[in-house]
């Protein structure tokens, strides 16, 4: 059985692991820390050009069905957010913008700022009113702490029922396990329930949870909280890796490697002053003045050794690769497509 090591537990790492495992590889996924997937708003901004059905299958989850197409939603700031794929309560179909919205937040809690958001919406011609729930939740605690069981969600539904608006905008607080509560709220309150598009919170975490559980479900061995400290390279071929975590050091033999460590944002690429570099010291990096665009150099998917020659069995995927076209917020679709192409490159090599 061919053995692959995938480094990185974000979108590119989990998707490529899942694809490889489905193709019969023995896959070890090593990740540490929080990937930028988990910090994202949990939606795909653009429609993928390749592997659309594979992406849909990879992301499908019975606790949270997805919607796709030309979708519109509202960021936590009240600004418009367009995307192609999102959880159902995050967005609506183009043209179905609600006429009036009650923006609901917890007093003094940063999860949603109803006065700011309402003012932004009103300025854009969407009638909006702030509504503050009288629950005291410390700012560092997620708002879900205020809704511990079905009864609490029921009480919330009753409160929302009284609001004189077509739609209700809530802070993004539902975990994957709780997502169905939003459907229940919608049913009981008789209002459209919208979840504010929110980075660095529950939506990104849900997405990361789905991806990791999918990879695990396909037989990928996941070594969480560990780091690939060194690679064993012979003549443009990676044959092994040293994985460390806590007191544990393991050397593993591999036939291929996918580097999906993310950009400088998540500590994947080393960053000294304003220059990025390869933490393995093996592969060529393209530097850019814009922290967003630099990353590993590649040729037909393969990473490039320091001497300029293409590697035989090392590919890169996602934000760790240099990309001229990348823009803020566009990374997830690109990462998933990149993972697909990386797997294809390995299968072809």
């Amino acid at each position: 059985m061919r053995r692959a090591l995938v480094v990185g537990n974000g979108a590119a790492g989990t998707f490529s692991s899942w694809l490889l495992a489905n193709n019969g590889w023995e896959v070890t996924l090593v990740g540490r820390g929080t990937p930028s997937t988990a910090m994202s708003a949990g939606c795909l901004r653009s429609q993928p050009n390749v592997c659309r059905s594979e992406i849909m299958e990879f992301l499908s989850n019975e606790m949270m069905p997805w919607t796709s197409g030309a979708r519109e939603g509202l960021s936590k700031m009240g600004t418009p957010y367009r995307c192609w794929m999102s959880p159902p309560h995050s967005t609506w179909k183009e043209g179905e913008t609600p006429k009036s919205v009650a923006v609901v937040g917890l007093e003094g809690h940063p999860s949603l700022l109803p006065r700011v958001t309402s003012a932004m919406l009103n300025a854009r011609g969407i009638r909006a009113k702030p509504f503050i729930l009288p629950r005291s939740v410390p700012s560092e605690v997620p708002p879900t702490a205020s809704f511990p069981g079905d009864e609490a969600w029921g009480a919330l539904a009753e409160e929302l029922q009284k609001l004189p608006s077509e739609a209700i905008m809530l802070p993004a607080m539902a975990s994957l396990q709780d997502y169905r509560m939003l459907d229940i709220l919608e049913l009981r309150s008789g209002r459209r329930v919208l979840e504010a598009i929110t980075p660095l919170g529950a939506p990104g975490q849900r997405l990361a949870d789905i991806m990791l559980s999918k990879a695990a479900g396909s037989g990928v061995t996941i070594w969480d909280g560990r780091k690939v400290a060194a690679l064993d390279v012979h003549e443009y071929e990676v044959r092994g890796a040293t994985v460390v975590g806590g007191q544990e050091v393991r050397d593993i033999a591999i036939d291929a490697i996918i580097v999906a460590t993310g950009g400088p944002l998540v500590d994947g690429l080393a960053l000294k002053e304003r220059n990025i570099s390869d933490p393995f010291g093996m592969f060529r990096v393209v530097r850019s003045n814009d922290g967003l665009r630099g990353g590993y150099d590649s040729s037909n998917g393969m990473l490039i050794a320091n001497d300029g020659r293409s590697m035989n069995n090392a590919v890169g995927a996602g934000d760790c690769l240099s990309s001229e076209g990348r823009d803020y917020g566009s990374g997830l679709t690109e990462a998933l497509e990149g993972a697909y192409l990386a797997v294809q490159a390995l299968e072809g090599s």
């Binding site: 930028s36 910090m39 708003a41 960021s75 936590k76 700031m77 600004t79 418009p80 957010y81 003094g108 940063p110 700022l113 109803p114 006065r115 700011v116 003012a119 932004m120 300025a123 410390p138 700012s139 560092e140 598009i197 929110t198 980075p199 660095l200 950009g263 400088p264 944002l265 500590d267 960053l271 000294k272 002053e273 304003r274 922290g291 967003l292 823009d327 803020y328 917020g329 566009s330």
Partner: protein, 507 residues
């Protein structure tokens, strides 16, 4: 609106003049175009000079600083951290300079005590172990924002009217007098023209621009200086290089950070504050020669200020000040030059001149009456001391029972923001930041700005997008040279603000 005296400029000098005039019973109005400390009073090192830095070249400034250092520690103890300062020389520095320095300090009245290298390292363990000579002086760290706000508050309680966000836009001169001053008012509440007896131009770097509205010429040099804010307090003292004043000589511990400075280049205008990559590298290189660990510290942001200097600019220019009348216009006084440390003295001298013009014979009392308590005053808790450092007297009106935190980097409570908004001077997010420090930490307002805005919108009529954009643009200017971990933070900030919130380019 008729007023005896109109003061233009709400920096330390203007606020000090308002306080002094009001204490002497003169009816006065102060107008500041931005927020208090909007110019050099905010864009400086936060250093309370002992005078030692100027002792060799500029004995007058040195003596002025030495005297005011004692006065400010007595009248504004909450705004001053009495850290003490060290002047250290390294093997590459001129070894004889220390003797000249000591003699000059003595004749200028600046107390300076020589320490052996061993003693110096015991006092300040982070110093370069190769330190050759070290002199201890009474430098300190001063918070210009709380100092100026305290002057404003004190001036008001003595009867002055003080308004920020009101810009003077024109003057009418008739028969050799300013008879009318036009005002552009952003906060609402005053008529569009003022009829003053005397106009005091304390506009700092803008002093020549204001004088020219009355057809007067004030010879000024504008000089830009760059500073870096490092995360954490990297030393116990203000650390100075013991050599002729040069670039990158000083590191000042300030609240939760250390400020490195400064540089010197001619500025094209009062707004020419941009910090270059070369400045950043120079400041880190030079200051880390004194404290090696500074090289490894996280730089949170960079900022620049424009010094209004008498005559020409540069390191050679005097740090003293002058009060200038004009032959053509009898009732306009311009004040220029000086230091934050000597603001009170400048205000006293200006007020003397104004009182002379008005035939008022009262004496100055600003050096005798306290602006607020000491932060560590007896009987106070640690948390009260922390609040006093920022707010002086006003600290006691904060509801400490409400412990909700808005800014996690600087641990600013929601109730601090509420108190500041109740005061009425804070119109923008940046105004709130200058008073509370919310947004000054390593996330640079990325995490707390929306929460602060939410509290503001509950009380004021604030337009959220311009307010947020203005704030974020200002913070972003300080991040253009971000490196290492701060660059990571900046990339995240842009992902969220541009990628998710779509805030880029919204006006």
């Amino acid at each position: 609106m008729r007023k005896d005296v109109l003061i233009i400029g709400g920096g330390a000098t203007g606020a000090g003049i308002a306080r002094d005039l009001a204490q002497r019973g003169v009816e006065c109005l102060l107008l500041e175009m931005g927020d208090y400390c909007h110019g050099a009073s905010g864009g400086n090192h936060g250093l309370l000079h002992s005078g030692a830095r100027y002792a060799v070249k500029d004995a007058v400034s040195a003596s002025e600083c030495a005297a005011e250092n004692i006065v400010l520690k007595a009248i504004a103890p909450f705004a001053v951290e009495d850290t003490g300062g060290l002047f250290v020389s390294l093997p590459q520095d001129d070894p004889d300079f220390a003797d000249l320095f000591t003699a000059s300090c003595r004749s200028a009245g600046v107390p300076a005590e020589e320490l052996t290298p061993k003693e110096a390292l015991a006092y300040e363990p982070g110093l370069n172990p190769l330190v050759v000579r070290c002199l201890a002086v009474p430098d300190g760290s001063i918070d210009p924002f709380s100092l100026v706000q305290a002057n404003v508050d004190d001036a008001r309680s003595a009867g002055a009217t003080v308004l920020n966000h009101c810009a003077v836009s024109g003057m009418t001169v008739q028969d050799g007098r300013v008879v009318k001053v036009e005002v552009r008012d952003r906060r609402g509440g005053i008529p569009s023209s003022i009829v003053p007896e005397v106009v005091v131009n304390a506009a700092g770097a803008w002093v020549a621009d204001v004088a020219s509205m009355a057809g007067c010429h004030v010879p000024m040099g504008l000089d830009q200086g760059s500073m870096l804010v490092l995360d954490g307090r990297q030393g116990r003292h203000v650390i100075n290089r013991l050599r002729r004043p040069s670039n990158g000589d000083i590191a000042v511990p300030n609240h939760t950070s250390t400020i490195l400075g400064t540089t010197s280049r001619p500025a094209r205008s009062p707004n020419d504050v941009a910090v270059s990559r070369e400045d950043v590298e120079l400041l880190i290189r030079e200051t880390s020669a004194m404290i090696p660990s500074l090289r490894e510290c996280r730089t949170i942001r960079t900022y620049g200020g424009v010094r209004p200097l008498l005559g020409g600019g540069g390191r050679e220019a005097s740090r003293s000040f002058a009060i200038m009348g004009d032959d053509k216009v009898d009732n306009l006084l311009s004040v220029a030059g000086g230091k934050l440390t000597t603001y009170r003295l400048m205000a006293e001298k200006v007020t003397d001149r104004v009182c002379e013009l008005l035939g008022n014979s009262s004496n100055c009392r600003t050096h005798l009456e306290r602006l607020g308590p000491s932060a560590e005053e007896k009987g106070g808790s640690i948390s009260l001391a922390r609040l006093r450092r920022k707010y002086g007297r006003a600290a006691t009106s904060i509801d400490t029972a409400d412990t909700r935190v808005l800014c996690s980097c600087e641990q600013v409570m929601r109730s601090e923001v509420t108190m500041v908004l109740n005061n009425g001077d804070a119109l923008t997010l940046a105004d709130v930041m200058r008073r509370t420090r919310a947004g000054m930490g390593y996330c640079q307002g990325f995490d707390c700005s929306l929460s602060v805005l939410e509290v503001m919108m509950d009380r004021n009529d604030v337009d959220p997008v311009p307010s947020l954009n203005e704030f974020l643009r200002e913070r972003e200017r300080g991040l253009t040279q971000a490196t290492g971990d701060q660059l990571r933070q900046e990339i995240l900030r842009r992902h969220v603000l541009r990628g998710v919130y779509g805030l880029e380019g919204m006006e």
